[in-house]
């Protein structure tokens, strides 16, 4: 505790109360939301901010929203200075005028008053299933300006002193393809804000507003102190790393993300100078989102108990060049900036791996592949399937990469195959692990998986956002890269390879197959325990050939046991060839 005179016990009790409040808000959204993006992908966040806009508590849903609230709240405070009243609710999504992070992420923010005094803000940002623009799902990577990406909502009053703004509601309903889902999700955001408001007023009733404010300060100081302690324990030095986004749909690709990370005492300095200039495709990442990715990566190597209060940002200093792909200026398109957020996080972790090699695993699948398929059913009603493919982590210093566990940046869930088929005119033909897709290593990367979808309805628009084909997941400490990702249209004799970022019309009975990238390996594959290789072969995760060629493990007849003599000989030979 750095703040004087505060009772440490009340502090702990208040902290629990605030965490409980944002969790309760998050549960409300999850259980009442309509769109798959929100309910299954957990692509939303809840937060409580003090009256000055500083984040005091945030629900644990998606990493890439941590740190993206301050700019949104600032836009409310700036634009409506002196005009924030009880019963108001604010809405925004625009990155260039209002602190948004891309158009589908709609913020709904409610100021909480006790009497006439502003006590803080409760807010929910949620990824809407559609916000208009070029394609269903509003995730087009083909736009060259943000004007094509859908409805831009500058910070506005959705409710004015308790009265709903018919104009704003109507504008939204008119401009989106799925008004019922969007309205349902907005309603769940509003419900969560009301629950947050009620919980905050209860806390204010129990303690005074003045005492709570002192606890907010203490919480910010506490999270800062904990972060500084963690950073102090890291070895000082300057560490550099670069990673690339394939961006094979544009001539500017591949897109470079450069990270220079310096640890100095109890502070970290991150500079992204050298990253590519902004591109005329929707993968530019607005600054608040880039910062969230950097904070998130550093947060991953800290004690998970540190509260999600903005204080932990204080010892982290971020410099990002303007008009770059990680800090675009108007009117650069940003719809698919998720990919850039994932890659920024991977690049920062790559730099940290040099400082603390035992604590950072190799690269994973690169964040989720997003597939949207939208069109009309035979009865004319619209649908939009939005699903995420994720979950092939890199190997680490003590364990193989986990299969079926999403990228730490975005804790997405898959939708059940049976539910996808009930709700959309599709059949999922296959959903299974891919042999030999994980990068070899002493601790291998996770095997990736394939998901193959047949459109059994009318012609529909398919949008794919994937990556890591030309630049597959990196290995560390001598481990191999994971397998590259693939998008295959109509697999078979007439199959066609689609780019990583693709938008095509998918006719009736046409098929799209996505093979996700495999996790990177950690450590020299020749050091892997041969028994572990044997287990992988028996389970069909690693082929007999890869066991021999990658790991130098020779198996006896019918793969029942390791031929130890032949293995030792082969490993010596491979080590000589590889110069390791």
């Amino acid at each position: 505790m750095t703040s004087d005179r505060l009772d440490p016990i009340t502090f702990e009790v208040v902290k629990n109360g605030l965490d409980s409040m944002v969790d309760e808000m998050a549960i409300t959204v999850m259980r009442t939301a309509y769109s798959g993006v929100v309910k299954d992908a957990l692509d939303y966040s809840t937060a409580f901010c003090a009256a000055d806009g500083q984040v005091i508590a945030q629900g644990l849903t998606i990493m890439l929203h941590l740190g993206s609230f301050p700019s949104a709240i600032q836009s409310v405070l700036t634009k409506f200075d002196g005009r924030i009243n009880p019963g108001d609710v604010f809405i925004l999504n625009d990155p260039y005028t209002s602190g948004g992070i891309h158009l589908p992420d709609v913020y709904i923010i409610k100021p909480v008053f006790s009497g006439a005094a502003l006590q803080g803000f409760v807010g929910v940002v949620a990824h809407q299933a559609d916000i208009g623009g070029l394609v269903p799902g509003s995730n087009s990577t083909e736009s060259i300006e943000i004007y094509q990406e859908g409805l831009r909502i500058p910070t506005s009053k959705l409710y004015d002193a308790g009265k709903p703004s018919e104009a704003v509601f109507d504008l939204i309903a008119t401009n989106v393809r799925l008004p019922i889902q969007v309205r349902g999700d907005m309603r769940s955001q509003l419900a969560a804000c009301e629950i947050g408001e009620r919980a905050l007023l209860e806390l204010i009733g129990r303690y005074s507003a003045e005492e709570l404010n002192r606890h907010y300060e203490a919480l910010l100081d506490y999270s800062e102190l904990r972060a500084r302690q963690e950073i102090s324990a890291l070895p000082d030095g300057k560490y550099e790393f670069e990673d690339f986004i394939d961006a094979d749909n544009i001539k500017e690709g591949p897109v470079r993300l450069a990270v220079s990370l310096e640890i100095r005492g109890d502070e970290i300095f991150v500079d992204m100078a050298g990253s590519s200039p902004q591109v005329p495709a929707g993968i530019n990442s607005p600054l608040p989102f880039t910062k969230a990715a950097i904070y998130g990566a550093i947060r991953l190597i800290m004690d998970p108990d540190i509260p999600n209060a903005a204080g932990y940002h204080r010892p982290i200093h971020i410099t990002v060049p303007s008009a770059s792909v990680v800090n675009p200026v108007h009117p650069a398109p940003v719809a698919a900036r998720g990919i850039t957020g994932f890659r920024t996080m991977d690049a920062v972790l790559g730099a940290l791996a040099q400082a603390i090699p035992d604590r950072v695993p190799a690269d994973g699948e690169g964040g989720n592949t997003l597939i949207s398929l939208g069109g009309r059913r035979s009865d004319g009603t619209p649908y939009a399937l939005v699903d995420f493919f994720a979950g092939a982590r890199g190997g680490g210093s003590g364990s193989d990469g986990s299969e079926g566990v999403s990228h730490p940046a975005g804790n997405t869930a898959s939708s059940p195959v049976e539910i996808l088929e009930v709700e959309n005119p599709v059949v999922i033909d296959e959903y299974a692990l891919i042999t030999d897709s994980g990068g070899a290593g002493k601790f291998r990367g996770a095997q990736s998986y394939v998901k193959q979808v047949t459109n059994i309805g009318e012609q529909a628009t398919l949008q794919l956002r994937s990556d890591k084909r030309k630049f597959p997941p990196y290995g560390l400490q001598g481990g191999s890269t994971g397998s590259p990702s693939l998008n295959i249209l109509n697999p078979g004799p007439n199959e066609r390879l689609l780019p990583t970022l693709a938008q095509v019309e998918l006719g009736k009975n046409e098929v799209i197959r996505h093979e996700m990238a495999g996790g990177g390996g950690w450590g020299n594959p020749l050091d892997r325990d041969p028994a572990a290789v044997l287990e992988d072969v028996i389970d069909g995760r690693v082929s007999v050939k890869a066991a021999r060629d990658e790991y130098g493990v020779v198996l006896a007849e019918r793969s029942s046991e390791v031929n130890e003599v032949a293995t030792a000989k082969l490993r010596t030979e491979l080590a000589r060839q590889r110069g390791s």
Partner: protein, 680 residues
């Protein structure tokens, strides 16, 4: 328990090699000691952790899984989500069936039950051969969309049973015919994995009891709070996974009914964890979003993935890592933490002097004067006050820079706030206001913390039942037979006519009844069906369960859809009356009402106690507090502070609250709304 409700208790050590041995010999000893004729027993009710332990300790059998071609890895890929947001190395639990024993058959149904790919007999033969090579002890089967059309899965099941007649087989259509393939597969696999373990355990129990001339039927406690025959449990062992914690809630439910209370929060605090559950409108609340082996974590309500999904109805219990043995520490940032690490019974709290040196919640309660410093458990365990003081000074007071009593009171307050989150997660998180409920507290430590927790939540009344330390076990004696069945039936209730729906219920019920009779249900036990349905707004991911008993040929919309709108509004504060609603699953539960005696313990006589100096926070400071036994209390209100010492528990009545004994022997505390504690 005798017909008049009087009961006798005997505790025996577990016989770890074969639990049934200890049960049979313990029972025989007890009957001999009490001169009871073994032939006169009418029923044996058994709660067992055999099923849970088989999963937690990876001691289930070698299991295989047969699935639809292309979906071999559904069990392993789960739903992708992970519970530890800030972990780079999160490892999910290993699937209960390894990849080498997951086999595919070529077949495919569509979501409406129509056939896309007919069941291919060559691929079925190949799967059978592969099963023959693998030699599993149990086989689970789960094919896509089998809940809507069981044909393929039945044929696969029958072929497997014909080829491997001695192998334990579980098909998803028999275990959980509901949509969502991961959850259905996982539940079926759990059933198969523990099936032979539970089967042989219950068989051997039966044999041992028969050998000892105990012929009474054995009933097994289920996770949903009902009991089922041992034969039924052998076929559906996944239903008895949470039989332990369920018993306490069943006991509380029965007691609440006798007291005429419809709305009660149950609060069970032991040495390591605290559990909360809800009785609302006279009903226990169930959930189908349970994970086995997920451990204790409130975050599991938000982010799943720590355990194995089990989608059978389980009493909805929220559990947190706070109990008498929870360890106290101050973290690197100077913040006081309590739990979830626990000193348990061994090495135990510092004051037990059994080797534990960490300060625990119990040490704080001793230092505060709440627990008798000389001895507990009727004088059989001596406590060391100095050891409690030393540990608290070192673990909390010195690092926090406060005096010992403040530190101890802080531990008490922080433990309370943790437990409050468990209660909130079954109330406010679900749109329920805890102030509308009474708090029923039991478990060894529950009565010490209940009043203060109630005050924080605005709960006005706390009830401490008799024998709170063994209350959960007594709940077993009060459970009634209950058999739940379900089937997914996706439909728009507006287009569905009532007769179709009623026919679907009747079909489910008659199929289920013949199965129950097969499993030994005797025809003379008259039961009644109770119907519910799961609905959601079209496109939502989660359903809400609503009462469906009132549908009688009339307007479904009025009964079912309106119930759903109401429930949605009650739970989430909003309804959308103009939006389409989907029916997803129908459920029917067969309940047999029993004329059961009420357990009653013999009342100990009043004892002589010395007052203790107890600390109630900075506002009240140290107060000389009278100590009484339960028998000293009467129907007349007595004002706190007061401490009630009993053999197996201590009840704390804080200043300003009133306490009396009701005519059934329960301690009733009426909580003052005055906030006496600034840290609560």
């Amino acid at each position: 328990m005798r017909p008049d409700g009087r009961f006798v208790v005997r505790k025996v050590s577990s016989t770890v090699d074969d639990f049934s041995r200890g049960i049979a010999s313990g029972l025989t000893e007890l009957l001999a000691a009490e001169s009871i004729d073994p032939g006169s027993l009418s029923e044996i009710v058994h709660g067992t952790t055999v099923a849970t332990n088989a999963i937690l300790e990876n001691k289930g059998v070698k299991t295989a899984l047969v699935t639809t071609q292309g979906f071999r890895d559904v069990l392993e890929l789960r739903r992708l989500r992970f519970p530890d947001l800030f972990s780079l190395n999160y490892t999910p639990p290993k699937p209960l069936v390894p990849r080498r024993r997951r086999f595919e058959v070529a077949e495919r149904l569509l979501m409406d039950g129509s056939t896309r790919i007919p069941l291919d007999s060559a691929s079925l033969d190949a799967a059978l051969d592969a099963l023959g090579d693998a030699q599993p002890e149990a086989i689970a089967i789960c094919l896509l969309h089998s809940y809507v059309n069981p044909d393929h899965e039945e044929r696969v099941r029958d072929a497997i049973q014909a080829r491997f007649p001695d192998t334990y087989v579980s098909a998803s259509i028999d275990v959980l015919p509901e949509i969502r393939e991961y959850e259905r597969t996982s539940t079926t696999v759990i059933n198969a994995y523990i099936g032979p373990v539970v089967d042989s355990y219950l068989q051997s129990l039966r044999v041992r009891l028969d050998n000892d001339h105990i012929n009474a039927p054995v009933s097994i406690m289920q996770s949903n709070g009902g009991v089922m025959s041992d034969i039924a449990a052998r076929r559906a062992p996944a239903s008895i996974i949470e039989s332990g914690p369920a018993a306490g809630v069943v006991g509380a439910h029965r007691l609440a009914a006798r007291l005429g209370l419809n709305d009660v929060i149950t609060f069970d605090m032991g040495g390591t964890t605290a559990k909360a559950s809800l009785i609302e409108g006279g009903e226990r609340s169930l959930t189908t979003e349970y994970e086995v082996g997920a451990g204790i974590s409130l975050s599991s309500r938000l982010v799943k993935g720590r355990g194995h999904a089990l989608k059978l109805p389980v009493i909805d219990i929220a559990e947190v890592g706070a109990g008498g043995g929870s360890i106290v520490r101050v973290d690197a940032g100077g913040s006081l933490k309590v739990g979830p690490e626990s000193a348990g019974a061994s090495p135990g709290p510092a004051c037990y002097r059994l080797g534990g040196t960490d300060a625990t919640v119990t040490d704080a309660n001793v230092a505060l004067g709440y627990i008798n410093p000389v001895s507990i458990a009727g004088g059989s365990v001596d406590l060391d006050m100095n050891a409690a003081h030393e540990a608290l000074q070192r673990s909390a007071a010195t690092p926090l820079g406060v005096d010992l009593l403040e530190a101890a009171y802080g531990v008490y307050a922080v433990a309370n706030i943790t437990m409050i989150r468990a209660i909130k997660s079954v109330t406010t998180y679900r749109g329920r206001d805890p102030r509308d409920f009474a708090l029923m507290a039991f478990g060894g430590s529950g009565p010490l913390h209940a009043a203060e927790i109630a005050r924080s939540l605005g709960i006005k009344r706390v009830i401490i039942p008799e024998a709170p330390g063994v209350f959960s076990a007594l709940g077993l004696l009060e459970a009634a037979p209950e058999y739940g069945f379900s089937r997914t039936m996706i439909a728009d209730p507006v287009e569905l006519d009532a007769n179709t729906l009623i026919k679907a219920y009747e079909a489910l019920e008659s199929a289920s009844l013949s199965r129950m009779i097969e499993e030994g249900l005797s025809a003379d036990r008259d039961g009644a069906w109770s119907r519910t349905a799961d609905l959601r707004y079209r496109g939502q991911a989660y359903e809400l369960t609503v009462d469906a008993n009132s549908i009688q040929g009339g307007d479904i919309t009025a009964f079912l859809v309106e119930h759903f709108h109401e429930e949605h509004e009650r739970t989430y504060g909003r309804r959308a009356s103009d939006e389409p609603v989907d029916l997803v699953t129908i459920r029917s539960t067969y309940r047999i009402a029993l004329e059961q005696p009420v357990p009653s313990s013999s009342r100990p006589s009043p004892m002589q106690h010395l007052p203790r100096v107890a600390y109630f926070g900075s506002q009240h400071g140290e107060v000389s507090t009278p100590v009484v036994s339960r028998a000293d209390l009467t129907a007349a209100d007595r004002e706190g502070p007061l401490i009630i010492d009993e053999y197996d528990s201590t009840t704390l009545v804080p200043p300003n609250s009133m306490v009396h004994l009701d005519d059934m022997g329960n301690i009733v505390i009426d909580i003052s709304s005055e906030d006496t504690v600034n840290a609560s």
